[in-house]
Amino acid sequence: MAKAEKKGKSQDVLVIGAGIAGMQSALLLAEAGFQIHLLDSSPAIGGYFPLLDKTFPTNSCGVCFMSPLPPAYCPIYESELHEKIKLMTSSQVSGIEGEPGAFRVSVTRKPTFVDPQKCSNCGACVEVCPVEVPHEFGGGLEKRKAIYLPFPQAIPRSYVIDPAACTRCGECLKVCSPGAIDLDMAEQRHTLAAGAVILGLGFEPFRAQLKGEYGFGRYDNVLSSIQYERVLSFSSPSRGMPMRGSDGRIPKKVAFIQCVGSRDPSCGQTHCSSICCMYAIKQAMITKERNAEAEIALFYMDIRPMGKDYERYYEKAKAEYGIDFRRSAVSAVKQLQQTKNLLVTYVTEEGSFREEEFDLIVLSVGFSVGDEVKDLARKIGVDLNEAHYCRTEEFTPTQTSRPGVYIAGTFREPRDIPETVVEGASAAAQAAILLTGVGKKGVPAKTYPEEGALGEGPPRIGVFFLSQEHPLADVVSAEELINHIQGLRDVVFTEEIPCKSPSEGFDRIKRRIGEKELNRLVVAGSSLRALRREFGEMARGIGFNPHVIEYANIWEGCGLVHPQGSPETLQKAKVLMEVAIERARRLEPLKQGSSAIAKSGLVVGAGIAGLTASLNLARQGYDVTLVEREDELGGNARHTWYTLKGSNPQVFLRELMEGVEEDPKIQVFRKAEVKHLEGYGGNYRTVISVDGQEKSLEHGVIILATGGKEVKPHEYLYGEDSRVVTQRELEGLIHSEDERIKGLNKVVMIQCVGSRDEEHPYCSRICCGHAVKNALKLKELRSDMDLFILYRDVRTYGLYEHSYSQARDKGVIFIRHDLDRKPQVISRDGGLCVSVVDPTIGAEVEIPVDLVVLSTGVEPHDNRRLAEVTGTELNLDGFFMEANPKSAPLDFVDRGKFFCGLCHSPNFIEDSIAQAQAASMRAAVLLSRGGIEHTAHVAYVNHRLCCGCGLCISACPYGARVMNEEIWKAEVMEDVCRGCSSCVIVCRNTASQQRNFEKATVMAMVDAAVT
């Protein structure tokens, strides 16, 4: 629209809250070309992310996420380094005026009293600061000074002063050599323009003191899970070893108490916090890994590992780690004064009263929305729901009540990391759609001057040492290092560059390259992470190949890990310099190829997820081909008549289908299937068959949304007795006001039919909610109907917990059973009854019934053939498998392939919608690029050494290796190779090599380090 350019319109996006959700939204939108303002009220970005050591369900180490070496995935560093993201820490929003596409936001920046541009992180201020207070990071277990670094890896990397603790004694001012401290720094206010706003506001952990009976805050050996997460982190004072607060002893008997501040009306926390079961299991497993002697008990009401692959994790904790799960209610924790051990009193499911002594207790605290967040929501006009979370509608899960303001993460509902990442992407998609057409979009391709013939001829190395003001400078002096390397082979020039003014330094280096005819560079000193991008850009700007620059990370390798310094530190610095020079001598200039992108997408499956993904991708400006195997669109949603939250899926589905059919950018093929797919992210060539006719397509991305289906039960007399139906069939009967419903007096529902058993060893997540939904509906029709739900664990997570409470209040009776004592459905003399052992009375009960309803699980369609055709993988349960369950939950390893909906994992409609929107965003990011820049450090094959064994072909995760069958030698498709070096590792003849990491280069570096 021509009017789009009108005054006040902005394409910028403001993201409030720089936790996992906010960083995800910011990074995706920035990649898609939008300018982002990423704001957080804390002095450092990251939210709770830096606290996590290991994450479930893989127990992979979160510390590596924080590793300073690229290409490790770390959203914090990526956010810091992205040129389209402007960080605004210690900042708060006080109001938002205007309308979608043209907001004006008032921002207040609190003073930190330290200038991050000047602060050199030497830490001299901390030494002299006389004030000590508990450190918020890690729940107050450790102490910090009034001037402090928020946490070791804090970004922005600068000390800050806590004005509440500071006594203004001025001692820090005296020792701050860069003069970074300004105690008179004032609050700043400004306004900024933004077209859209995303709320990535986080949670507040429950204050365990409020449950006084557990003694948190009184007993040294009772920790909150936040504190225990810190204890288990390798960067904690105990280096990750479980430890008692009272005496530093390693605890043998450890108890976890669940639902502290969750599912508990006595403290006003009526919802389920969703993730505590999983994080407690994780913490229990790590405890056992760190101390094999540990005996661990976990006290719980219902265990709720309902995410993808979580049930297996739980089973593993029981079977392999021997963690003792005790269904019980804990009434009190008492401390013994001599040993400081703790007595836990609890009541078991059968009603017996027990007491047991433990060395350490961890309280699994729940989450809620903090007052600050509620206050902000009020200020910016975003409504809350009854549970004080952000109000959203089921079918627009990331849209708040205020148009143009979107929501992601734990302010919407308690969420784990994959769901938060999904919502971050979903919110980003909504913002992108809103702003598409507001102005120019996409990342303009940069142009650089032609590169000279650098790298030819003998190496002429220039070494530049970027010096910082830091106490360590006395130990590792630039002068000494420069003297040390001056005589080394091929080093023709050395110079110290003061780090104070980077632009001046760059100018000097550029001059030197010309003057001294340098063709290799070694840059030493500051963090590689901070330098690599800027130096690369500088080099390309003058036509110098960026791949012949090597970095020696003296600051982090010496300054950060040996802060006190010693003669060995200097020795290490010298070695790091030598290693860098040895590599630089062997570096070759690399040409990075690129290819154009087919700016369109292919979506497979036209259920809610596929339809939503198509529409979202089209509305971001890309052509979409949607293929559906069946004749009719809509998938499972065609058989769903109402949701637990009270919405009508039929209305939504109709609107969605109309939207898709009317959108000129979407072409729909029914009775269509994918037959063949080749190519790589950005450029796929696919053959589909439409009603028997083959058709070729070119597209840049593919989104699989092939759905799932209800498990067909083969037990409980299903199919034999017409009075045994599934939940979906019951829903149909209720919806059609069937006569059979009117005559019902007694109904039994049986949970986990085709879930959590041998055949389907996963939780289908939605069946507990489904049963509660239909039970409430029946109670609505006939309040005196007797309803029984026979369950294994009630998994009404998050705000669904309220529906569970409501069902109990209305008289629905819940009876638990175990897998090895399943209920029996008996048809006798024309009557039907269900028999089950009720553990609370320890006896078998027989319930005569009119109807038995089976809560059947969800299973994927048989995706084996599609996986083969599309080059994607399935997990053990037949769902598609993601590249990384935490950081890339909707992505396949190949970067142009995505998936969402029931083919990902069982989910409610709203989560499927969020996934579909998120997948469209992740796909759009790829499509928005000017071109696909290929990896520079690709693999290549020395044909003389290749024996044609083909190991590299099976090892390559990207399908970049092929066999040249004419000469029977392996080859590399350079435009597909991502430089992971898997092929180099498996090659027995060292025929596979990676550019600039050749064996000779690496060996020379190792030699330099050890000799």
Binding site: G212, E213, G215, K334, Q335, L336, Q337, Q338, L343
Partner: protein, 292 residues
């Protein structure tokens, strides 16, 4: 009247002694009167008071369990004074009645018509310990201490009636109360850190299920000893007698004081041998610390 009003010399309070003050806990009554007199506080016993109904009534007849305390409230509100209740059990019954009168209009009408009075919401009902801590205040108490209880290790036992349910009693921290501990410190004694301050002593189950009380009491006293205490201090007639009578005196033998008794010693009052009625003789303990 705010809870923190200081009781100036000559200040007056209504006083509900409770039945035990005439029998098993007469020493609580005597020590209370003596200590308060030393601070110039005058207690005006309410006219014709009756049993608060503690023990069994609340489990037998709800209306009666509210009317018995309500009659005392009716008598007390005739005077324009705050009502002070030494016994934790009585205090709890009166507070429960107050809550019912304030929050349940139907029940209020029924109670009012049964007793024949009109409830005035302004009567303030205070536990004696609350009046001592917040009315007299630690400053005045410390000033008056003549004989600090140095070296006396005390487990402060609040029981369940004084602080629970928190919405009813509205007193101190219901999980980790501090009033007695701070008071004992200001007398120069050492309160021990322990976790059984608010456990139930079994109360009137002593009459029907003695074995239960034996079990509960022994656990409390054992834990007091484990925490390093040489005696306990409490603020309830029933708790005191349960704790002394039902503990295994041979293996434990910890004396149990009313807090007013310890105040009396510390203030150096004459004739403080109120504990002659105690079942566990504290003389040896007090003698060893020169506190006789």
């Amino acid at each position: 009247m705010s809870q923190n009003t200081l009781a100036e010399d000559g200040e007056r309070y209504s006083y509900f002694p409770g039945c035990t003050s005439h029998s098993t806990a007469v020493e609580y009554d005597l020590s209370t009167r003596a200590v308060l007199k030393a601070f110039g506080v005058e207690l005006v016993e309410i006219e014709d008071w009756n049993c608060c109904g503690a023990a069994a009534v609340h489990s037998m007849n709800k209306l009666l369990s509210l009317c018995l305390p309500a009659r005392n409230i009716a008598m007390a509100q005739k005077k324009d004074l705050e009502l002070v209740v030494p016994c934790a059990g009585c205090f709890n019954m009166l507070k429960r009645t107050e809550r019912a009168l304030k929050t349940d209009p139907e029940m209020r009408r029924e109670v009012e018509s049964t007793i024949g009075f009109t409830y005035r919401e302004d009567l303030k009902i205070r536990a004696l310990i609350d009046m001592v801590v917040n009315g007299i205040g630690f400053g005045r108490i410390e000033e008056k201490v003549q004989k600090p209880l140095t070296g006396l290790k005390v487990a402060c036992y609040y029981g369940c009636a004084l602080v629970r349910h928190p919405k009813v009693t509205q007193l101190d921290d219901s999980e980790n109360p501090q009033y007695l501990d701070t008071l004992i410190s200001s007398l120069g004694a050492t309160p021990v850190e322990w976790s059984f301050k608010t456990d139930c002593c079994g109360a009137d189950l002593a009459l029907t299920h003695g074995d239960v009380v034996v079990k509960l009491v022994n656990r409390i006293v054992e834990m007091a000893k484990e925490a390093g205490a040489e005696c306990l201090v409490c603020s309830c007639g029933l708790c005191q007698i349960n704790l002394e009578m039902r503990q295994d005196a041979d293996t434990l033998g910890l004396p149990v004081f009313y807090f007013t008794e310890l105040m009396g010693i510390a203030l150096g009052l004459k004739g403080t041998q109120w504990w002659s009625k105690h079942l566990i003789n504290p003389s040896t303990l007090l003698g060893s610390l020169n506190l006789q």
